[in-house]
Symmetry: C2
Subunit: 203 residues, 2 copies
């Protein structure tokens, strides 16, 4: 691609302006705090992005706690990869598979409560830099967990601890409490074209 | 939480129906193919989710190629974490930082073209299960790369190879070519509340 001098000058000016805006924005931000992050919406990638954050923390040598509230058998790829970080990562899985596979509400509620108990251990430990509450929004949606209990637990956590809560249909009060909320929108999905779940993409 | 017998029965019925629908949907899907995945939109998590996919592939013992088209110094946490997978992962970074920091279009174009050359090596290698083209949408948006060249390169890749292309403002023709597109929407962002970029969250 050819770049003329005029183009180059125009580009330089545009980028210089943009850098000035960027620098000013960065300078304005002074607060440091543990963030409550919510990944919600119907699109794919909510849990994957949460595990990406976990990976980043582990890369910085920080401790991470993961609690999976719904999926049992899934995320096998991540689990195997994370095995490399055994000293920094604690992983608790409900281990019951999808709830529509168990068809036993009492068992699901008991499993969700056990998972929340594990989450509370992480939420009490300032050494844990990031807590991943994977698919907790599903547990909240089916009232396996009370929203008040969860919000109170999040509220009392160490000031610098980050939390990421995933799952579609996040409760409005959780969004209100959150610092960072991303809505994952499904623009196009290969399942609609008859493509099956594949290794590395879905599991 | 108490669960009455009636509630339990209702739940069992609902979940059994849902499982039947789910099983039928899974049975319908027979196609296996390498997916072109696009993470776009203004929300946070596009690259993080792509690196989460990379992690999953590495966990399955598959090879992954990463090319970063814009960010140079970022993703240090991921890079350090991925160092554990040196035998499976190849990482190419343009290493020029954000484009509005360089203010030199000719240099940016040359760097983008070098990065694309590296991408083409991955896109020619059937042993690479996943290619991450991080922030390629930015390079396309600024015309550092031609869309036709990129689409042609993606088209001729190995049939089972997955690709994930990230960055806001994905070109409509890239979305048309894609199998899976997630739009990351920014519902709430902590920068607006004066919170600065923090270790493990932004870098």
């Amino acid at each position: 691609m050819n770049v003329t001098d005029e183009e180059a000058a125009r580009h330089r000016e545009k980028m210089a302006k943009r850098k000035a805006v960027q620098d000013a924005e960065v300078a304005e931000k002074k607060i440091e705090k543990g963030l409550l992050i919510v990944h919600t919406g119907p699109g794919k990638g909510k849990s994957t992005a949460a595990f990406g954050l976990a990976l980043r923390m582990l890369g910085h040598g920080k401790r991470v706690g993961v609690v999976q509230f719904v999926k049992g058998a899934w995320h096998t790829g991540e689990r195997d990869a994370f095995a490399q970080f055994d000293d920094l990562l604690s992983w608790h899985s409900m281990g019951e598979g999808f709830t529509w596979e168990t068809q036993d509400r009492a068992r699901d509620v008991a499993a969700a409560e056990r998972a929340w108990g594990k989450a509370m251990e992480f939420l009490a430990d300032p050494e844990v830099a990031l807590v991943v509450l994977d698919e907790i929004n599903i547990a909240l949606r089916y009232d396996y967990l009370s929203l008040e209990t969860v919000l109170a637990g999040l509220e009392q956590r160490p000031a610098m601890q980050h939390v990421v809560a995933t799952g579609r249909n996040a409760k409005p009060d959780l969004i209100t409490a959150a610092d960072l909320v991303t809505e994952f929108g499904a623009v196009k999905h290969h399942f609609a074209a008859g493509v099956k779940a594949q290794l590395g993409v879905e599991f």
